[in-house]
Structure formats: structure tokens, C-alpha cells
């Protein structure tokens, strides 16, 4: 394609696009004009016939990125359980991303509230495990607060060894029971 021909196309295409935008989003003038200006700029810079498609893609991309992020966070939030080592309440690194997703949601929804439950395996006495379960729940609560969640949105409860997920008393079962659960 010759450069002169391209120029001719642009001369025809640009006003048409602007017109099209005006008709569809006429109720919002500023938005339209911004759109038009962006279109013009992009068109001028890109300088080829794919310009209209590219405008849509950028917007979609941004939208898709937001949606993708939301989806990802929602997926991460579906994980509402963290597991701990024996007699330990330290949060393991693999849960940071998950907790960030929960924190983002709680920051975005200040009226939302979460209960952090602390649980233990069946080793040790029930009373000691209540104390240990509270320590686990509080360590998660503190982590969320450090990520900007208001303390009024978080409450904790320790069930100790009273609500085990797996009662088979194997090492694997013990590991499953040593957990914190986020309940909305």
C-alpha cells in the first residue's frame, strides 16, 4: 500500500469512527470526546488500518485484566484454610497471596466481616489446644490487619481440637487439623 493511499483511507476512516462513537455514547460527551481523541492519537501514531481494532483491544485488555485479577482473587479467596506446623502459629509463605486476596476484598468492602477460626490437632490437652488455636487465629488476624484490613472487620474464635476435619489420627490427619479458617 502506498503512503498516499493510506492517508486517503485515514481521512475517510477517522470522521466515520468519531461519528459512530457519538451516536452510541452520545449521552456522555466528555467520554466520547476523550474516546475520539484517544482514537485520533492512536490512529495517528499507529498509522494503519488496524487502529479501530486496537482501541477496542486496549480497553478490553484493561477490563479483562481487572476481571482476570478479580477472578484470580476470587479463586484465591475460595481457599479459606491455612495449615500450620505442629505447636506453631507462624503463617507459611505459600499463604501470603491468599491472605492478600482476602485482605483486598475486605479493604474494598469495609462492611464485610470475617471470623478467623483457629484449630489444632488432637495432640496435647484440649485446654492447651484452645490457647494454641487462638494464637493461630490471632496470627492470621494480625496479618490481615497489617495488609490494611480494619480490626473491626475481624474477629477470632479458637475451637482447639474440638472440630477436627479428619479424625483418623494419622500424621496426615493431624496436619489437616492444624488450621485457621476464614469464615465470612
Amino acid at each position: 500500500m502506498q503512503p498516499t493511499q493510506l492517508l486517503k483511507y485515514l481521512v475517510v476512516a477517522l470522521p466515520m469512527l468519531t461519528a459512530a462513537c457519538s451516536t452510541t455514547t452520545g449521552e456522555d460527551d466528555t467520554a466520547t470526546s476523550t474516546n475520539a481523541r484517544e482514537t485520533a492519537t492512536t490512529g495517528a501514531v499507529a498509522g494503519n488500518d488496524g487502529d479501530t481494532v486496537e482501541v477496542m483491544t486496549l480497553e478490553k485488555k484493561r477490563q479483562m485484566q481487572v476481571e482476570e485479577e478479580e477472578r484470580k482473587q476470587a479463586t484465591l479467596r475460595q481457599t479459606n484454610m491455612l495449615f500450620f506446623d505442629f505447636d506453631d502459629s507462624q503463617i507459611q509463605g505459600k499463604y501470603f497471596e491468599i491472605l492478600e486476596a482476602h485482605a483486598a476484598y475486605l479493604r474494598a468492602n469495609p462492611t464485610a466481616k470475617v471470623v478467623v477460626e483457629g484449630h489444632c490437632d488432637e495432640r496435647g490437652t484440649p485446654e492447651y489446644n484452645i490457647a494454641l488455636g487462638e494464637r493461630r487465629a490471632k496470627s492470621v488476624a494480625k496479618y490481615l490487619q497489617n495488609l490494611g484490613v480494619m480490626s473491626s472487620q475481624i474477629s477470632t474464635v479458637s475451637y482447639g481440637e474440638e472440630k477436627s476435619l479428619d479424625k483418623s489420627r494419622t500424621e496426615a490427619a493431624f496436619a489437616k487439623n492444624r488450621r485457621a479458617v476464614l469464615v465470612y
Binding site: 495432640r123 496435647g124 490437652t125 485446654e127 490457647a131 474440638e162
Partner: protein, 447 residues
């Protein structure tokens, strides 16, 4: 009318699904004293609901101090002391026998008398020793160690009367007060979807279970008031731990602690006026003592470590507590007047759930050594520790009011069950339950 009421109550309270707690003796009859409870004679027409001799035999076996012989091993079944063939019993190595006679006095009422016979003494005197009394020769019958007056009772009271006889026999022969008429409170967790958590009170041998309360949320840590009329316990029914006091006669319940965080591990003071408990309202688990009259709280511990499981010394002046202040949980004595803290346990990776025996001489603990949790006894004077159990995941030990036995929770197969061990560690028995997990046993004071 009374009978009808008893029947109705029976139907209401006795849940047949878990009525089958029976005791399996797992260790320790060999060193115990041989004894025979001869089947009691019966003169009457009404059918007997329970064999008194069987219940008494089981009680004595469970005390760990006696080895009651089966009927098959008895050389004879005498009705009164006049029928006893002393030589035959002595030959079997049995030096004490219990005889009893039951009559039905009128419809719905029975009467029983019983005697403890000393076979050795009887063999020496031939059952007809004579002694001088006011210058006259009289028959002394000193081979009869105890002859009871007639006891009148109703059919529903058979087991209670048997336990009462066991108490008298035990005390006469050992000098230790019997605890066979006591009860245990425990938590039962079933698989059923509706209200799986139950707080149950039963006779110490597992019979006569009565459901105290049933909940959708966990129940924990029952503790008896010293007069045995009330229980304090922890309930999660309101989605947080709260301490309730429950009157066993009226069924009325009162919430006494519902602070933010933990409200746990209640323990009644020996005089009944206070309740020790664990609250984490000020940040982390600390021991408090609540005056039950004024509801005033006194904070006992104040540090950044976990403090839990308070238990009273028999004199009510000190507490045993589990504290993590030295890194791992160990047991400490805290003097309530001075606030002074003294570490009690040094053996094992952890010591938890401590309590002092009624004589004040021993500390009972859940000892963790090489990853295994066992019930152990530490001599408070010498510090020597003796591991009493060999079972798996042992916890929640509770000592009988006479200091003779410990009931605790352990794992058997896939289930948490209750087990007994004598304070000297020689006798062991298991109380298997039909269904569910049985835990947090609390032995009542004398009723």
C-alpha cells in the same frame, strides 16, 4: 405414681444408644487381694433386676485392690456364715468372702443384709470362738468382720445399694473411703448431624447415663461443684467460648463468663466459693479467679506466654497451672496469697493438665516424652515421676475423690474412650463406649 414418674424419667434420660459402657480390665488383677462375693441368696417372688453380687464384684475389681473370684472358682455358695466351709475357701487361697441375703418384703420393696467373713480367723476358731464377757463364756463370732443391718430399697435402686455395700466393704478392708457411689461427667461427640455434642453424667462405672445438655457446637471442660450439685463447663453455642454454671437438679443454666476471646478451663475451688478460669480478654490466655458471689475477677498470671489449666491445691491456697513461660508448657504452682510462682515439672518435653491428689502428696500430669502423651504421677516431695499409662494420646486425667483411681481420655482404635488407672499404676481398665468419642471426664466429689 412415683413408680410411673420413675419410669417416665427413665425413658427420658436413659438413651439406649450409649447405654453399653462396660469396663474391660486390661491389666493388674494379679497383684490384687483375692476375694469372693458369693451370689446373694434370695427369698421372694419378684424378679431381681440386677445381681447385687455382680455389681459389688465389679466395683471391687475396678478399685485395683481386689481380685474377685468368678462363681466357677468358688468351692461352695454358703447362704449364712454358719454354712461356710472355712478350710475349702482357705485351700483356694481366698481369705475374705462376702455373703448376702435378699428378701422381698412387700411389692416393690426389697431388703438386703450382708456380712464380711474373715476366712483365716474362721479357720482358727472354727467359726465358734468363745470369749469371756462379764464372767461368762459367749460366742464372739469374731470371724464376722462386719454384719450389716437390713437395708430396704426399691427396684430402681439396686445398683445404688450395690455401690453402697461396695463402699462399706472397701473401707472396712482397706481403711480407704470407697468412691463407688460417685459419678463422672464427660463429653460425648456422636456422628449424628443434629446436636452431636453432649454433656453426660453417669455413675462412675458408666451406668445410668443422663444427658445434661446437647448442642450443635462443642462442649468442653466440665467441672463439679464441691457439693456435686452443679457443673461448670464451656459451651460454644453462641459461636464463642462461654462458661456456664448448670444446676443438675433444676436444670437451670447461668452464663458467668463471656469475654472476648477464650473463656475456658473452669475449676471450682475446694470451698465452692470461687471458680478459677482462663480468659484471654487482655491479650493472651491468663489465669483468673472469679468470686462466685460478687463475680469479681482477680488476675493471677500476667505474662506474654500461654497460661492455662488451673487446678486447685486441696487447701485452696495455691493453683497448679500449665505455663509456657519457660518455652515449652510445664506445670507451676502459684501461691494465691503471695503470687509466687514455682516450677513443678522438669521431666519430659511437656507437662500439661496438672492436678494434685486429695492427700496433697502427688501431682498428676499429662506428660509428653519422645512425642508420646501419657498420664504420670510425680511425688511432690521427692520429685520422682512415674508414668502410669501406656495408651495413646492420653489426656484429661481426673482423680477419684478418695485418691485411689484416675479416669482419663485415651485413644482406642479410632475412638476416644475413657480409661481408668490406679494411682500406683498397677491396675488399668477401659470403659468402651458403643458410639462416638468420649472425652473430658470429670470425677465427682463424694455425693
Amino acid at each position: 405414681m412415683k413408680k410411673v414418674l420413675t419410669l417416665v424419667f427413665g425413658l427420658l434420660f436413659v438413651t439406649p444408644s450409649f447405654a453399653a459402657i462396660e469396663i474391660l480390665i486390661t491389666e493388674g488383677l494379679d497383684g490384687a487381694k483375692p476375694i469372693a462375693v458369693v451370689p446373694f441368696s434370695y427369698d421372694g417372688i419378684q424378679t431381681l433386676p440386677v445381681s447385687l453380687a455382680d455389681v459389688i464384684s465389679a466395683d471391687l475389681a475396678r478399685s485395683g485392690k481386689f481380685n474377685p473370684k468368678a462363681v466357677m472358682e468358688m468351692p461352695q455358695q454358703p447362704i449364712t456364715d454358719k454354712d461356710v466351709d472355712f478350710a475349702a475357701w482357705a485351700e483356694k487361697g481366698i481369705d475374705t468372702i462376702i455373703l448376702g441375703q435378699i428378701r422381698d418384703t412387700r411389692p416393690g420393696v426389697f431388703s438386703v443384709t450382708y456380712q464380711i467373713i474373715d476366712i483365716i480367723r474362721g479357720q482358727i476358731t472354727g467359726g465358734g470362738a468363745q470369749m469371756l464377757s462379764d464372767g461368762q463364756l459367749v460366742t464372739s463370732n469374731d470371724h464376722i468382720m462386719l454384719a450389716s443391718r437390713p437395708i430396704q430399697f426399691e427396684p430402681a435402686d439396686f445398683r445404688r445399694v450395690a455401690h453402697a455395700i461396695s463402699d462399706n466393704v472397701f473401707e472396712k478392708l482397706t481403711g480407704i473411703k470407697g468412691a463407688f457411689q460417685t459419678k463422672i461427667a464427660y463429653v460425648l461427640v456422636t456422628e449424628q448431624p443434629q446436636r452431636p455434642y453432649q454433656l453426660v453424667v453417669a455413675d462412675y462405672d458408666g451406668y445410668n447415663e443422663q444427658e445434661v445438655i446437647r448442642s450443635n457446637e462443642p462442649l468442653m471442660s466440665p467441672t463439679w461443684s464441691p457439693d456435686a450439685t452443679k457443673l461448670a463447663y464451656v459451651t460454644f453455642e453462641n459461636r464463642q467460648a462461654q462458661i456456664f454454671i448448670h444446676d443438675l437438679y433444676s436444670g437451670s443454666r447461668e452464663m458467668i463468663a463471656s469475654y472476648p476471646g477464650i473463656n475456658g478451663a473452669p475449676k471450682w475451688s475446694p470451698d465452692g466459693s470461687k471458680l478459677a478460669m482462663v480468659l484471654s480478654k487482655d491479650g493472651n490466655p491468663e489465669i483468673y479467679v472469679m468470686d462466685l458471689l460478687t463475680r469479681k475477677l482477680t488476675r493471677v498470671t500476667n505474662n506474654r506466654a500461654i497460661d492455662t489449666e488451673p487446678s486447685w491445691y486441696p487447701d485452696g491456697q495455691s493453683l497448679v497451672v500449665t505455663s509456657e513461660i519457660g518455652g515449652r508448657p510445664q506445670l507451676y504452682q502459684i501461691d494465691l496469697r503471695t503470687g509466687k510462682k514455682k516450677r513443678l515439672t522438669f521431666t519430659g518435653e511437656m507437662n500439661l493438665g496438672g492436678s494434685i491428689t486429695p492427700d496433697g502428696k502427688s501431682l498428676i500430669t499429662v506428660n509428653r516424652t519422645r512425642g508420646n502423651y501419657h498420664i504420670a504421677r510425680q511425688d511432690l516431695r521427692t520429685g520422682a515421676i512415674q508414668v502410669l499409662t501406656k495408651t495413646y494420646l492420653d489426656e484429661s486425667p481426673s482423680v477419684s475423690p478418695n485418691g485411689n483411681m484416675i479416669i482419663y481420655s485415651t485413644l482406642h482404635g479410632q475412638n476416644q474412650v475413657l480409661a481408668l488407672v490406679s494411682v500406683d499404676g498397677r491396675f488399668k481398665a477401659r470403659l468402651p463406649s458403643g458410639i462416638g468419642q468420649v472425652k473430658s471426664p470429670a470425677w465427682s466429689p463424694y455425693m
